[in-house]
């Protein structure tokens, strides 16, 4: 008999006895489940009625005794919210936001709160491994064999050195976020090929920001909380739960800020704000150009700010004269009087802000996105909101002692110019060496400009690349791939050798508040527990690989501990002081708006001389998105991200998967669904010229009938991710890759990957 059955038997007897008593007493309860006299019961007169078990009203605590507290900052997104981690008996028990951190302000986002599930995820990589099955791809078991670190380094070093000897250093690519150790090894080897994900994320925006403002600082800091008029062209960070953006946005709404949300889909950002304008996808530029025309012609701009801190107003005014509200209305499908009203409200309510963050708004969504980003800069400048309260802020991020200053390197060899992804061909964004996810695939497959033979990859997942299955084919063409990661991701499934890394809660370092710094501040990262597995930090992995490859001299005397000490000393603080101050060092000072910019004219350039010198249009002009609906592909496609997930990194976390609901879906307007004969929950196929995916339909009202939306992060095919495996589908499979010629023809100074510039067909599966 199970425990439940025993309980049931006991309870049944008890309540029947109790009910007998109730009936005897003649009490008529309203809730008479227990007030019935079943026939089959034979009452034993010796059984006292009060035998019903006493229920236990003791409140059970789930909280262990906290034995220690550690400081760290979140490694899930680059906001790096500072965390305080409560430890109970050597186990991390709870993560809280650090109240002294200006990013976290005492709270974390849903992703941060789930991090302990990641830390203790049994699916994590536990030791170095080598592949024994030469076949690679989805559905193929790599047949891993556990190896030690020396063997892992030797295998990788031999493969890389062989490629370098036979095909030159450029035959090796590093696919990784920028990292001091990695960049040094790359330069020591002399390969120009360092590729990061930024072309899929924000380069359209940073390229024009650099051109118009001259600052190298990242344009990711917004003072949304103090804005009184928030005009969002798809800026949707609150619904993606970006901690400081969501907090500041809700504060602004609570304080009565007017919000206009311009997006083909209604999200909670637009819903909390009030006014939703369901603009036609890829036409925000027309709306903005008409706004500029109205603001300039009616002289509604902030005269003081524009006169003192900007240049090129006359050229700008001349450039936008054709862009009447009626013209824009036809393109955007937004009424001309709405565009006029929004333009006037935006210019006359202070402070007003068009917020932008990465793939939202001015990110690399369409061929015209860089112009959208340019217009965001111009409009924010016209209303005097750049580096002013309630506007777009240039972060007061503290500068740190550089790696090269701390450990001067031996001379580097000559490096060939030509990159595998052609990224050096973009004059403005090229020198940042960020690389291009959308051109690398075809370049590897075509062996143009040269054959790539091997890759050293860190964390970036296969699912993050445009047309992921096509990128898998490119990886299959390489002779050798090593991957560093925390999880057995899809990229790991393509590896010959795997280097396991610690989770960020097991590592150390500093975060310098790149997304939200009103004043200089750093946060401490210390290991919150001893490493769970046989892992090594990325710097250590690079050093081991460099030594095995024969580049050990570049890393002599290099240590992260020494670097940390030098950095703290330069800031005038120490590890002890940091720990005493809740893991935070701050240089609090009042906010003073910037008055000079590092452009040729020392002003914000509305007419961008930098764009002009580099062969781009120096003024904002209309350019349509690249691909329009056709009979074959009649719907626009937009991509979003849910609050619970960070791209494709968090789906193996059961907390997130449960909170989200496990599978992504195809969002369809009810009218579209009716046309297609599709009901909510039906399986549908979404097809682009690149690929197709099958998902369930989510029928709704808050999306344009000509548009479908899919959320990113799903469709994992690594069987070693036991929770994420086979849940939903990867909408990135639908995104076409681009040969370098097509990328250059787009004329985008930011070399954006145009992640949504394609159309799709949808039909019932």
């Amino acid at each position: 008999m199970s425990k439940k059955e025993e309980k049931w038997k006991l309870s049944r007897r008890a309540f029947l006895l109790a009910s007998g008593a109730a009936v005897t007493a003649g009490a008529a309860s309203n809730f008479l489940i227990a007030g019935c006299q079943p026939e089959e019961v034979e009452r034993d007169p010796d059984d006292p009625v009060d035998e019903q078990p006493e229920i236990d009203k003791t409140l059970v605590s789930v909280e262990p005794e906290i034995t220690d507290t550690k400081f760290n900052f979140c490694g899930i997104c680059s906001a790096n919210c500072a965390m305080i981690v409560d430890i109970a008996d050597d186990k991390a028990w709870r993560i809280r936001g650090n109240p002294d951190d200006q990013v976290a302000e005492g709270h974390l986002c849903v992703k941060g709160y789930s991090a302990l599930k990641d830390l203790y995820d049994p699916d994590r990589l536990k030791h170095p491994m080598k592949r024994t099955n030469p076949e690679k791809g989805p559905g193929v078991d790599p047949e891993w064999v556990k190896i030690d670190w020396d063997e892992a380094f030797e295998l990788a070093a031999n493969a890389y050195n062989e490629a370098i000897e036979e095909h030159g250093p450029q035959s090796l690519a590093f696919i990784s976020r920028g990292h001091d150790w990695m960049n040094r090894l790359q330069r020591a080897i002399g390969t120009p090929n360092h590729i990061q994900h930024h072309s899929t994320c924000f380069t359209t925006y940073t390229a024009v920001w650099r051109a118009a403002m001259g600052t190298g600082n990242r344009p990711f800091m917004l003072d949304v909380g103090r804005a009184k008029y928030i005009l969002s062209f798809g800026w949707d960070q609150p619904s993606k739960a970006k901690n400081m953006s969501a907090r500041e946005y809700v504060k602004a709404v609570e304080n009565g800020a007017k919000v206009v949300y311009v997006d083909p889909r209604l999200t909670i950002t637009g819903a909390l704000g009030g006014e939703w304008i369901p603009i036609k996808p890829g036409t925000d530029l027309a709306f903005m150009l008409a706004m500029i025309r109205i603001i300039v012609n009616e002289e509604l701009y902030d005269k003081d700010y524009v006169d003192n801190y900007t240049s090129g107003l006359e050229q700008l005014a001349a450039a936008v004269q054709d862009y009447t509200p009626e013209w824009a209305a036809e393109i955007t499908e937004v009424d001309a009087d709405v565009i006029e009203r929004v333009a006037r409200e935006f210019a006359t309510t202070k402070p007003a802000l068009i917020p932008n963050h990465k793939r939202d708004a001015g990110g690399p969504n369409y061929a015209n996105s860089w112009r959208v980003a340019f217009c965001i800069n111009i409009l924010n400048a016209l209303v005097g909101s750049i580096d002013r309260e309630g506007g777009q802020i240039i972060g007061r991020t503290p500068s740190m002692v550089s790696f090269d200053d701390a450990f001067p390197p031996p001379d580097y060899p000559e490096m060939p110019d030509a990159r595998i992804d052609g990224f050096e061909k973009h004059p403005i964004i090229g020198p940042t060496r960020r690389g291009d996810f959308s051109t690398i695939t075809e370049a590897i497959l075509d062996e143009e400009p040269y054959p790539l033979k091997a890759a050293f990859i860190r964390k970036h997942n296969v699912l993050a690349f445009p047309n992921a299955p096509r990128f898998v084919e490119a990886l299959q063409k390489l002779d050798f791939v090593a991957v560093c990661d925390v999880w057995p991701s899809e990229m790991v499934q393509m590896a010959d050798v795997v280097f396991p890394e610690p989770y960020y809660l097991e590592s150390s370092g500093f975060g310098n508040r790149v997304y939200h710094a009103f004043y200089p501040q750093i946060a401490l990262r210390e290991p919150v527990i001893d490493p769970l597995y046989d892992t090594r930090g990325y710097g250590g992995i690079i050093t081991g690989l460099a030594q095995a490859m024969g580049y050990g001299e570049y890393f002599e005397g290099v240590s992260s501990g020494e670097l940390n000490e030098q950095r703290l000393e330069a800031l005038g603080t120490s590890m002890e002081e940091l720990k005493q101050n809740n893991g935070i060092w701050s240089d609090e000072r009042p906010f003073e708006g910037r008055t000079e910019w590092d452009t040729p004219s020392n002003k914000i350039e509305l007419y961008s001389t930098v764009l002009e010198e580099n062969g781009y249009d120096p003024l904002p002009h209309w350019q349509p998105k690249k691909e329009m609906p056709t009979d074959e592909y009649p719907y626009y496609m937009i991509i979003s991200r849910p609050p619970m997930h960070k791209m494709s990194q968090t789906q193996n976390n059961e907390l997130m998967m449960q909170a989200y609901g496990e599978e992504n879906s195809v969002m369809l307007n009810s009218a579209t669904a009716a046309d297609l004969g599709v009901e909510d929950g039906d399986e549908v196929i979404v097809e682009s010229r690149a690929n197709q995916v099958t998902l369930k339909a989510k029928v709704m009202e808050g999306i344009r009938p000509d548009t479908v939306c899919i959320e990113h992060g799903f469709g994992h095919w690594s069987r070693e991710l036991t929770i994420a495996f086979n849940k939903g589908a990867n909408e990135g499979d639908l995104i076409p890759t681009m040969p370098i010629d097509e990328m250059l023809a787009a004329g985008d100074p930011g070399a954006g990957s145009q992640m949504q510039d394609f159309c799709v067909n949808v039909y019932k599966a």
Binding site: P53, E63, H107, G270
Partner: protein, 245 residues
């Protein structure tokens, strides 16, 4: 009840921070969310409204689940900071009567924990000691307030006045008479699948009647109530075994 939570749905972004922090702290089974976000979309394109509701136990002063529980496993916590509704899992028989009785359809049976009823406990063990709830501490946008009930009611009413002033005529504070959880909403309660205000006693009776097809009849027939509960239990057992397959 001296303590309360005020959940301002006009500030809620539906991110699930409360859901995840709660689930992590209580180590709830895979299928159990003691609190979760429900989204409500109303209207038709392009006049659409979208709101989230934090869906969890409301901690009714007169709790239908407590009244209907055949084994009295559900109780109100005693003491100065008490008043929240809790369940004694040792006594719970997993019959599911509370699920049908609850006007908010909150209770769940946990198949991984002997079919015991699982729901939000208002972090009773913390609150009686003077601490806050995990979800209120976690919420990154300040949409969940925990504190003295009277203060939260005043605060909520002030916010309602502000919202009404701003043209949100339907703004109201839900639960001031009935529940330990107060919801600040700006649409009719029905839009959030909430029982009409003043539901408690009448609601309890109505739900119970609904669930059991006429209580007077049940009483008259004798044994019927027992049968219903028994059937419910068998059903749940079946569900459990089919999930396991």
């Amino acid at each position: 009840m001296n303590k309360a939570m005020l959940i301002d749905q006009t500030k809620c972004i539906g991110c699930g921070a409360c859901t995840v922090e709660c689930k992590a702290k209580y180590e709830a089974s895979y299928s159990i969310l003691r609190t979760k976000m429900l989204g409500y979309e109303t209207g038709s394109f392009p006049d659409v409204k979208l709101r989230y509701k934090k869906h969890a136990c409301m901690h009714c002063f007169v709790a239908a689940c407590e009244e209907i529980c055949p084994v009295d496993a559900i109780f109100h916590v005693e003491g100065e900071n008490g008043g929240m509704v809790e369940v004694d899992k040792e006594t719970c028989i997993g019959c599911g009567a509370c699920i049908d009785a609850c006007p908010f359809t909150v209770p769940q049976l946990d198949p991984e924990d002997d079919d015991n009823m699982e729901k939000c406990s208002f972090c009773a063990f913390r609150v009686v000691e003077g601490a806050s709830t995990y979800c209120a501490e976690a919420c990154p946008v300040g949409a969940i307030d925990f504190g003295e009930r009277e203060e939260l009611i005043s605060k909520g009413e002030e916010r309602v006045a502000v919202l009404r002033e701003a043209g949100k005529d339907k703004a109201s504070l839900y639960g001031t008479d009935d529940t330990g959880v107060l919801l600040l909403i700006d649409e009719d309660p029905e839009e959030y699948e909430l029982a009409p205000e003043g539901f408690t006693l009448s609601r309890v009776g109505w739900r119970a009647l609904n669930a059991y097809g006429g209580l007077a009849l049940a009483a008259a027939l004798g044994g019927y109530g027992y049968k219903v509960v028994r059937e419910r239990w068998e059903e749940n057992k079946e569900k459990e075994s089919s999930t396991k397959e």
